[in-house]
Amino acid sequence: MNPSMGGAVGSGTFARGVHPPQRKTYSEAAATEVLPLPPEVAVPLLQHTGVPCEPLVKAKEEVSAGQMIGKADAFVSAPVHAPCRGVVQMFSVATLPNGRHVKTIPIRAAGEQLAGQALYDDVLGGDWPRSGLGRYEPGRIVEAVREGGLVGLGGAAFPTHVKLTRNESRPVDTLLVNGCECEPYLTSDYRLMLEAPAAIVCGAMLAAKACGARGIVIAVESNKADAAERLRQAASGTAVRVSVVRTKYPMGGERQVVPAVLKRRVPTGGLPLDVGVVVINVGTAAAVARAVLRAKPLTHRVVTVTGAGIANPKNLLVPIGASYRALIDCCGGLTDDAVRVVAGGPMMGFALGSLDAPVTKGTSGVTVLTTRDVTRIEETQCIRCGRCVDVCPLHLVPTRMAMASRYKDWELARRYYLSACCECGCCAYVCPAGIPLVQLMRTGKSQMPRE
């Protein structure tokens, strides 16, 4: 394995995958607006992969914007902060879109708040230096990232400080910043790249310093050429390169983008770290810059509210803990033919059972689909046509894995590597028989007995 200096050496694409209609036109032209602060936000104590936080405040306590209100002592965890000034209410429980029940700290907003353009500038605007970052030591960067409660904003919400902590046995030579946003409808990363490219470049350089990467590449899909150009301009004179990759689903998956840009295969069951790469989302990179340079925690993020089922699609800068209802109301509410509200994109997002659920750090968008968008094919027998095999980006055999899960044949499921499935949804997308392949495999993975 040759350590690369960060230039793109891959082919810019990967084998198989699907091309769902991109539908970015609903919201791609909408400049990011600041969501008017709702009267109450509910901050979940678990919005990351890892150990849940313990509350640091009590009910009726006054908190200031950015104050840490929850923390866990474990390494794989991230603290949570108050997004606004206010008074803590009685602790509550919320059901996240993925079905988990998590404890939340509700805060009733009170007192003076940053709002509108001032809030936007505080989070994303202002000056983001391209040089002079060498004075920040890696340890200090990681500490700021940890204190800021940063997690991966791409959706998996893995604590960022864990990713950026150096490990002698697993050296890192390249930082890959993921601006692919391969899910249809979503444009939050796109707007961020257009509006705050300097923050992304600055954050990328700091993150690379922390983890020890010498090469830095920002990967952008070809349908966002203008964003790639802005990033190039913002990165001129630095070591940061921009690599434009093919627009294909699921290009944003780390097992697809790492081979496409760097020509290295991430081992099954392993991480990009195993091949010397750390992948972070462009939003996470901007948050790194804010945490290190301005000592501000992760309290706000850009969320796309889009789809044919929303009256006015927008990209919103929202406080963590705002309810989905507040976002939808800000965008004019649901249309009459809205039939499914999805947290995330249509390929892998979770359908919401309640609009009162809170937005978390991993929420990148809300896609509202109408009766015309949602296809219903009656489920029929698998005729072994093999189309699922033709599109699986990991070269698996989805029909076998799904049928093994359905009939609980675990030996067959293991033989076809069920645990390697990343649940991207390409197989279910093309199945002519309408079989719920991803659902079957997800069930199978959870029921398969451990070896």
């Binding site: 084998a15 769902p20 209609p21 249809p184 097992r255 081979p259 295969r265 991430v266 081992p267 099954t268 069951g269 392993g270 089922g309 509410g333 649901l334 033919d337 809205a338 039939v339 499914r340 249509p346 390929m347 892998m348 997002g349 979770f350 359908a351 919401l352 059972g353 968008d373 949602v374 296809t375 094919i377 029929t380 027998q381 005729i383 072994r384 046509c385 093999g386 189309r387 095999v389 033709d390 980006p393 990991l394 070269h395 698996l396 055999v397 076998r400 293991r414 590597y417 645990s419 390697a420 949804g425 279910a428 997308y429 093309v430 002519p432 028989a433 719920p436 991803v438 997800r442 070896e451």
Partner: protein, 341 residues
């Protein structure tokens, strides 16, 4: 969760009813199973036209007998099992057409009916219905009538002295080849053209290579049939035929004759590509096709049967699960690591 009844009446907002379902929430509308079967019917249209042009009323009758017989067989036998009917997926119609095309023009009506019931009953319903069978149902029906009523399927090896249609008085090209290879006679020069266009004798569907190619290419372009299967079949056939040509250069029956002659193209594009009975992965499909092609040639060259497509289809259908088992593709990133300890 847990609202008092009075709260529900005042608090529930008016608005659309939102549903919850698992991802993915959008599906490609390009293909359903029914659409794939309709594609096969469309692709078989050139073959049907060619057979009607050559065999006239005989072809029409055979099609009119086999297709409704297969559909009724599926209706009756599925009901007998107490299962829901799925006739609208058109798979029984496809089986009927293929069975009709694999029978000779002069096969009696009752052969078509019995063959249809054997095809659907033994070839499909007994295994559990559509998607569950191991062997191609049309070939199962054909094999059944061939074993049970060999005399009625005369065109394979005999010449009809008193037939009214001129072409039926000739032996099929494959029979001629067999006989001539025994006697050492010459092959007519225009045979290649007639094999390609279809004015020769044979079973209903095998005469026109051009029709089979047109329909087959349509299926491959539509992705209803996997191109790896006919590609592998042609390669396998070429390999064995090429070897035979090298071994016996005096034979004027070239590799091209073998590709265009007999039911090979019909089998490679329409019968072998049945998704239910073929393997799942591209590499396994290539091997599947190649074994079929090699088997067809072997049967043609080394056995008394002039045509080997039916047997070869059934044989490779039998090894299809084995190919699936032996050729599990390697995931990107390697197999799942075995946890130690």
């Amino acid at each position: 969760m847990g609202k008092a009844p009075s709260d529900v009446e005042t608090a529930a907002p008016a608005g659309p009813l939102i549903e919850v379902a698992p991802a993915p929430h959008v599906l490609s509308r390009a293909l359903t199973t029914r659409r794939m079967m309709i594609d096969v019917l469309i692709a078989l249209a050139p073959v049907a036209v060619a057979s009607v042009l050559v065999f006239g009323w005989y072809a029409v009758l055979q099609i009119l007998v086999c297709v409704p017989s297969c559909v009724s067989a599926e209706a009756i036998l599925t009901r007998a099992r107490g299962k829901r009917l799925t006739l609208t997926d058109c798979s029984a119609m496809v089986t009927g057409l293929i069975l009709a095309f694999s029978l000779p023009a002069t096969a009696p009506v009752w052969v078509g009916i019995i063959g249809s019931f054997a095809a659907i009953g033994i070839g499909k319903i007994v295994f559990g219905g559509v998607g569950m069978n191991i062997f191609n149902p049309a070939m199962v029906g054909r094999a059944f009538v061939m074993m049970a009523f060999p005399g009625a399927l005369a065109a394979g090896g005999y010449v009809l002295a008193d037939a009214s249609v001129p072409v039926l008085t000739h032996a099929t090209p494959m029979t001629e080849v067999f006989q001539r290879s025994q006697d050492g006679g010459a092959v007519p020069a225009d045979l290649l053209a007639s094999l390609f266009l279809g004015n020769t004798n044979g079973s209903l569907g095998e005469t026109s290579a051009l029709a089979c190619l047109l329909g087959g290419l349509y299926l491959c372009i539509r992705r209803t049939a996997s191109w790896e299967i006919p590609a592998g079949a042609i390669l396998g056939l070429l390999a064995v035929a090429g070897l035979d040509n090298l071994a016996r250069p005096e034979s004027q029956w070239t590799v091209l004759h073998h590709v265009l002659g007999g039911a090979f193209l019909l089998g490679a594009f329409f019968i072998l590509t049945d998704p239910v009975t073929s393997p799942l992965t591209p590499a396994a499909k290539l091997v599947f096709g190649a074994v079929f092609g090699a088997l067809v040639m072997t049967i043609r060259l080394f056995t008394p049967y002039p045509e080997g497509v039916m047997f070869s289809v059934l044989a490779v259908n039998g090894i299809s699960p084995l190919l699936n088992r032996w050729m599990v593709p390697r995931p990107v990133g390697g197999p799942v690591p075995v946890k130690k300890g």
